[in-house]
């Protein structure tokens, strides 16, 4: 862990080497992502609700997904950019070092510009929660924390799966976008607003539903079973096969080579 933070510090140092570029990118990220939130606000100025979900509920949903995604882009960028590592041969280098491979991949890259999105997501989250008139209890607090954690976990898992895919074809990136970007855009809204098929897909195949839909139902009081507040735990279980698949990929790599 100490190693990871040290690497993180060095990444920050590298990025600060290019000061102007860093500031401009940071600001432009803020602008781009505010436009996403504006779309939702614009949408709700026309319709008061979508299938019973109010604006702040959707914003909450949205910000949780954005939070998890941005978190991984900042802190797990190496896995997101894993294809690069395979192509330029940097992965061989990692295999030559006496530390856990996933940890090393994490150390390998990070993207501090995306911190702007992380902060943004948190601000929107706070605003949404304030406006929602939550009747707070201990389960709701746990529920919110679990939602945030599971959002981080699910993108971590999906990034890992996408990275494992690189072992097979080296470069086949569009498929993964279906799950990351595509999935992200779906899951920004409460998946209940979509057709049944989508709901099943994003509950069973990729458990986005457990990140924000089911817990959200409990959180805003649409469902009173506190079982729902613990549903994000499913996502952590989902991580296990993701990690196993990644290790299987490494094994294949070392028998096939670049």
């Amino acid at each position: 862990m100490k190693l990871y933070f040290k690497a993180l510090g060095l990444h920050l140092k590298s990025e600060l080497e290019y000061r102007a570029s860093f500031i401009i990118s940071f600001l432009s990220q803020i602008l781009v992502f505010f436009s996403y939130y504006f779309i939702i606000i614009a949408l709700f100025s026309k319709f008061s609700n979508i299938k019973g979900f109010t604006m702040y509920e959707v914003l909450l949903c949205f910000s949780i997904i954005q939070f998890g995604f941005a978190f991984n882009e900042v802190f797990a960028r190496g896995i997101d950019k894993f294809d690069k590592l395979i192509i330029d041969g940097g992965f061989d280098r990692l295999l030559l070092r006496p530390k856990n491979i996933i940890l090393q991949v994490l150390c390998n890259e990070s993207d501090f510009i995306k911190v702007s999105r992380l902060i943004q997501a948190l601000i929107v989250l706070v605003i949404a929660v304030i406006h929602l008139n939550i009747s707070w209890n201990i389960f709701r607090v746990i529920c919110l924390i679990l939602m945030l954690c599971s959002s981080i976990a699910i993108f971590f898992g999906i990034f890992l799966l996408a990275a494992s895919y690189c072992f097979l074809t080296v470069q086949g990136l569009e498929v993964r976008n279906v799950f990351t970007d595509g999935g992200k855009h779906m899951a920004q809204y409460p998946i209940g607003v979509f057709k049944k098929g989508f709901v099943y897909f994003f509950t069973i195949i990729i458990p986005y539903g457990f990140v924000n839909y089911y817990p959200l139902m409990y959180f805003v009081g649409k469902n009173n079973s506190c079982l729902y507040s613990f549903s994000p735990i499913v996502v952590f279980v989902y991580l296990i096969p993701c990690i196993l698949v990644f290790y299987a990929g490494i094994k294949k790599y070392s028998s096939v080579g670049s």
Binding site: K13, Y18, G89, G90, D92, L95, P98, G257
Partner: protein, 326 residues
């Protein structure tokens, strides 16, 4: 048992047959033809502790594959390999602490920050104790002359400076074995010399076993006493460089500057050309040794200047490749 013991390793890669043209590219998109390449085929050798071995062969001979297997990145299809009792690809974490690898063509240093920061990170990666780390670092800085360049972002360093930092980075954890994959590629004469001197010294002082691949034969001649020649995935020659030289280096070209006429005739003189200010003579040293030759001509010729051309090791290698048809 030797320090490094490689027994009959083989490795085959499956590659997709690619033909030129867009049409063919489409075809292969749907139906792929594979072909198999024996990257290395039944290779065995053993290396003792403290040896420097030059590992040479033409491009695509299987050099990198062997290095990758020896460093534990690749698993061979068959055969066995033991280094100090450890199988490289089985006990990865334990094994890699013993080795250092320098890839001449790939950098392990962080591009935008000074090399010293990368060193600090490596300290944590290898769990090097603070004192040992400081000592090793100081020693490397001194020997590789890094004091002035260690605090400059790597991207601003020249190739030679960067290579010195690369080598230092690979040695921070005091490995017992050092793999050098073309360590002098693209360097100028001074940097090359510095790198070679350092490697020699390292081997002498710390008994580090060094396996070196290079296409620059000057690297090999100045460093390695023993070479392993590999071609088409097989070991073609394994032995001392000197034996190889004696075996192949029989013809020497001698330039003699003189105003007199040389009339000597001997079976050993293969060719005699009159040049502008003297003669170029090609001598077969097995028939007539150089000293005998000089002895004879100096009796009746005043030699103003003499230049004996060494048949370069490059030429020897070309001959060798031709002989083995690789």
């Amino acid at each position: 048992m030797s320090f490094i013991e490689v027994k009959q390793i083989s490795k085959t890669f499956r590659l997709v047959k690619k033909k030129s043209g867009l049409k063919e590219a489409f075809k292969s998109f749907f139906k792929r033809d594979y072909f198999y390449v024996n990257a290395v085929n039944d290779i065995s050798f053993s290396i003792d502790k403290g040896e420097i071995v030059g590992y040479i062969g033409p491009n695509g001979a299987g050099k990198s594959t062997t290095i990758k297997i020896l460093s534990g990145i690749l698993v061979p299809d068959s055969g066995d390999c033991k280094v100090d009792g450890i199988t490289p690809w089985k006990q990865r974490k334990e094994y890699v602490k013993k080795i250092g690898v320098v890839f001449g063509q790939r950098s392990q240093l962080w591009w935008d920050i000074p090399a010293e920061d990368t060193f600090d990170l490596l300290k944590d990666i290898y769990d090097i104790p603070e004192k040992e780390y400081q000592d090793t670092k100081r020693e490397l800085i001194e020997k590789l002359n890094l004091a002035d360049i260690i605090n400059i972002p790597v991207r601003q360093l020249s190739l030679g400076q960067r290579m010195r930092c690369e080598i230092a980075a690979s040695l921070l954890h005091n490995p017992e074995i050092l793999f050098l994959d073309e360590p002098t590629i693209g360097l100028d004469a001074v940097s090359k010399q510095l790198v070679r001197d350092f490697i020699k010294r390292l081997n002498k002082e710390k008994h580090t076993t060094i396996i070196l691949t290079s296409h620059d034969m000057a690297d090999i001649t100045s460093l390695a006493k023993r070479i392993i020649l590999i071609g088409k995935g097989q070991v073609l020659y394994d032995g001392s460089l000197r034996t190889l030289k004696n075996q192949y280096e029989t013809n020497r070209l001698i330039h003699i500057k003189t105003k007199d006429k040389i009339t000597i005739r001997n079976k050993g003189i293969l060719n005699k050309i009159k040049a502008k200010d003297g003669y170029d003579i090609l001598l077969n040293t097995k028939e007539l040794s150089i000293s005998e030759f000089l002895n004879r001509i100096s009796r009746n010729v005043i030699i103003e200047d003499i230049d004996i051309e060494n048949e370069s090791i490059d030429q020897i290698i070309v001959k060798l490749y031709e002989d083995y048809q690789i």
